[in-house]
């Protein structure tokens, strides 16, 4: 066991921090090409398909920096979930070529798994009915991260024999309606609807079961926890700075013990999220499926059971300025609200944790 970052990991963190600092005023322009150039997409792709096959620790170091910087690119969705799912389902040249193209940024794939009125259920009600040599797709997917900017959608649909197929489809094709919209944290997602949309048999990458989809999501869940951790640590640092510079009643806010203690409380909670993340990473290395899932749900509940309160307290400690969009601290609160219900929420993961603990 080694708690210190390797030289390579330090370099990864530094380059990420520098990259986001350089494009500060420019957060809304797409950086997907830069992510590819920096090797951050290849980091997730397997070595036999043009990737680096990085350790989970490397990916989480990066995710932490993305959270700190409030980066909007759908890294958890289009890099982690999409690549993990394709790695598991596709075969041979198709698998290698697609993953290589995703790793070098030439094809961006958005995972479309969730459906209207079905919360976090992964069993698709979307049907792919056999039609001649191909399939006819009917149904809708919602909250597709980066779905409005993707070259391809990766979607789950139930086949005639009741198994689940993963399909790669072109969102620009006729028969597909893509409606993009903003999320409360300024991210971009899309709803996609298919009305008897006919696709060829080559669109079916392969079959997959729900448990395998859930496992592919698990790495992204850890990335969201690390993303939240980076954001919360930054919010606390900003709050500490602000309390030292702002005065009321002729003295720095930092001199009021009530405020010192509030800040310390959210520091303790945030620091224990880091510990929880580490226990989950250790379980990932152990390789036992049940222990891994349980540990990741543990980390999720620890993180998002506290994240909004931590970020909200940081806002509160700033007073009015914390509520403004011009100031950064409130954006962390908005991001926590979105992250905590992407890929499941606290109740969902608490239930999974309890089910796996018996």
């Amino acid at each position: 066991m080694d708690f210190t970052a390797s030289n390579e990991q330090e370099m990864l963190r530094d380059s990420a921090r520098r990259f986001f600092a350089d494009r500060e005023g420019d957060r809304h322009a797409s950086a997907w090409g830069s992510y590819a150039d920096l090797g951050w997409l290849a980091l997730v792709a397997p070595e036999d398909a043009g990737g680096i096959g990085g350790d989970i620790e490397d990916i989480l170091i990066l995710a932490e920096e993305m959270g700190r910087a409030l980066a909007h690119e759908p890294y958890a969705g289009s890099a982690i979930v999409a690549m993990r799912l394709i790695d598991r389902t596709a075969d041979g040249d198709a698998r290698r070529e697609l993953l290589a193209a995703m790793a070098d940024g030439s094809i961006r794939v958005a995972p479309a798994l969730y459906e209207p009125g079905r919360r976090y259920a992964l069993s698709p009600s979307m049907r792919a009915t056999g039609d001649g040599g191909g399939f006819r797709l009917s149904g809708a997917k919602i909250l597709v991260p980066g779905g409005g900017d993707a070259d391809r959608l990766l979607l789950s649909a139930t086949l005639d024999d009741g198994t689940i197929g993963l399909f790669l489809v072109d969102p620009a094709a006729t028969g597909t309606t893509v409606s993009r919209y903003a999320t409360i944290d300024d991210g971009a997602v899309a709803d996609v609807a298919f009305d008897a949309f006919i696709i060829g048999s080559e669109s079916l990458l392969g079959r997959i079961d729900i448990e395998a989809i859930d496992d592919a999501l698990d790495d992204a869940r850890l990335a969201l926890c690390a993303d939240a951790l980076g954001g919360l640590e930054r919010a606390i640092a900003m709050t500490s700075d602000y309390l030292s510079t702002r005065s009321q009643f002729g003295q720095p806010l930092a001199s009021f013990q009530a405020l010192q203690h509030s800040l310390v409380e959210i520091f303790i909670d945030t620091d224990s999220i880091r510990s929880s993340l580490y226990q989950a990473v250790a379980a990932v290395h152990d390789g036992d499926g049940v222990a891994r899932r349980r540990a990741i749900s543990s980390c999720w509940v620890k993180t998002f059971g506290a994240a909004k309160r931590i970020a909200g307290t940081a806002v509160h400690l700033h007073g009015g300025i914390g509520m403004t969009t011009e100031y950064q601290v409130g954006h962390y609160l908005r991001r926590m609200m979105v992250s905590e219900r992407s890929f499941g929420d606290v109740e969902h993961h608490l239930a999974r944790y309890m089910a796996l603990s018996t």
């Binding site: 969730y114 459906e115 209207p116 009125g117 079905r118 919360r119 976090y120 259920a121 809708a140 919602i142 909250l143 409606s179 919209y181 903003a182 999320t183 409360i184 300024d186 997602v189 709803d191 609807a193 009321q248 009643f249 002729g250 009021f256 009530a258 405020l259 909004k308 909200g312 806002v315 509160h316 007073g319 009015g320 914390g322 509520m323 403004t324 969009t325 011009e326 409130g330 954006h331 609160l333 908005r334 609200m337 979105v338 219900r341 992407s342 929420d345 606290v346 109740e347 969902h348 239930a351």
Partner: protein
């Protein structure tokens, strides 16, 4: 001691309920339930209906056009409005500025402002806070200097709710720079269209538009716009902020949340919410209801004057808990709705809803985010705790 609502109170509740049911426009109630900040045009029809009924100003003395209601009746009215999704209209004019003008204003000011306030033709904003004077309000720097028949005002206000749609600002300004900080302040009515007044909107994280910066540059107002006598401003401000002491408990809003949450849970059970989660949300609802039931009686105790000298402490206590419970209620609603609250909804509901969003989703995230401001405005939680300490234990 007899802790029961009287028959008159019960009859009054029915009267209020019947009036709201008959007069509140359904579309207005629907918008108010979403919880976005109301524009003036939205709430105007409601204020006119209340005015016609003589109920526009629950907290003004009767001789000035108020209702003359007992504190308990005012409480019942607020609760019923909250439950029925009736909006608060022109809150600053009706609950704060009006009572100050009734109490301290010259007959000329009363003549000029009270009637248009009642009819909804005159909206006010409250210009107290400044960039360097938030919790420490007495350190404010905006100056008002007497010049012949006028005052000339220079300075900057911030966080001014509704400045963009108000006709006037009640401005707390320094009229005697040599006196102690609290002693040299006055309240002056500033027309928002006076030359030298600039309003700049401030974006807030809830995604709605309600607060502003107000810049005052050589703004001239007639000396008669100063309320009462010069340098009485601190006393008046304390009267104003303390006037609706129980308002910050938000019992109307809390009861609205409590009333609709069970239905929200039932709806979501048809949209994939599982029985285990539903049971947990029902439990959280019950725990919140229990807290709010106690809060309501804390409010009634303050209203009945039972707290006596401890009134300030009691009012601060309910303000702290009120904000805390609002956050809990709004958090529970977003949890129940789950991923459906992720989209950024616009107050303008002409936009189509995303495929995954039921009609109950718009406004839920916005309100949760906004209620963090309730831990800040009207005196932050820490300032309220200081008040309790200083009143009871020092």
């Amino acid at each position: 001691m007899k802790l029961a609502f009287s028959d008159e109170d019960k009859a009054f509740r029915q009267e209020v309920r019947a009036f709201i049911a008959a007069e509140l426009p359904a579309d207005l109630a629907r918008r108010e339930a979403m919880g976005f900040h109301n524009g003036r045009a939205t709430v105007d029809p409601w204020q006119r209906k209340l005015h016609a009924r003589g109920w526009a100003a629950p907290s003004w003395p009767r001789e000035y056009g108020g209702t003359g209601w007992s504190p308990i009746q005012r409480y019942i009215f607020e609760l019923e409005c909250g439950l029925a999704n009736a909006p608060e209209y022109s809150l600053i004019a009706m609950s704060m500025v009006g009572p100050v003008i009734c109490r301290f204003g010259s007959p000329a000011l009363q003549e000029r402002f009270l009637a248009p306030m009642l009819s909804g033709d005159c909206w006010f904003c409250q210009g107290f806070s400044e960039p360097q004077a938030g919790s420490d309000l007495a350190s404010l720097r905006t100056r008002a200097v007497r010049d012949g028949d006028d005052y000339v005002i220079n300075g900057q206000k911030i966080w001014t709710t509704d400045a963009h749609m108000a006709d006037y600002m009640i401005c707390l300004a320094r009229t005697d720079p040599d006196a102690k900080p609290q002693a040299g302040l006055s309240m002056i009515i500033v027309p928002m269209d006076a030359p030298g007044v600039t309003v700049r909107p401030i974006g807030t994280i809830d995604g709605d538009a309600h607060v502003n910066e107000v810049f005052l540059e050589d703004v001239r107002v007639p000396a008669g716009h100063l309320i009462g006598k010069p340098n009485e401003g601190w006393t008046q401000a304390k009267f104003l902020l303390g006037h609706e002491r129980t308002h910050n408990a938000y019992v109307g809003m809390l009861c609205r949340y409590l009333a609709r949450i069970p239905g929200l849970i039932d709806d979501e059970c048809t949209r994939g919410l599982g029985p285990v989660e539903a049971a947990e949300y029902r439990r959280r609802h019950a725990l919140l209801a229990i807290d709010v039931e106690a809060l309501q009686w804390s409010v009634l105790r303050v209203l009945a004057g039972e707290e006596g000298p401890r009134l300030n402490a009691a009012a601060s206590a309910i303000a702290i808990r009120g904000a805390e419970y609002l956050l809990r209620a709004a958090d529970l609603e977003t949890a129940i709705l789950g991923p459906q609250v992720i989209p950024r909804f616009r107050p303008d509901d002409s936009l189509p809803l995303p495929a995954g969003a039921p009609a109950s989703a718009p406004g839920r995230s916005t309100q949760y985010l906004y209620w963090w401001a309730a831990t800040i405005f009207g005196g932050t939680d820490e300032i309220q705790r200081n008040i309790i300490w200083n009143t009871l234990f020092r």
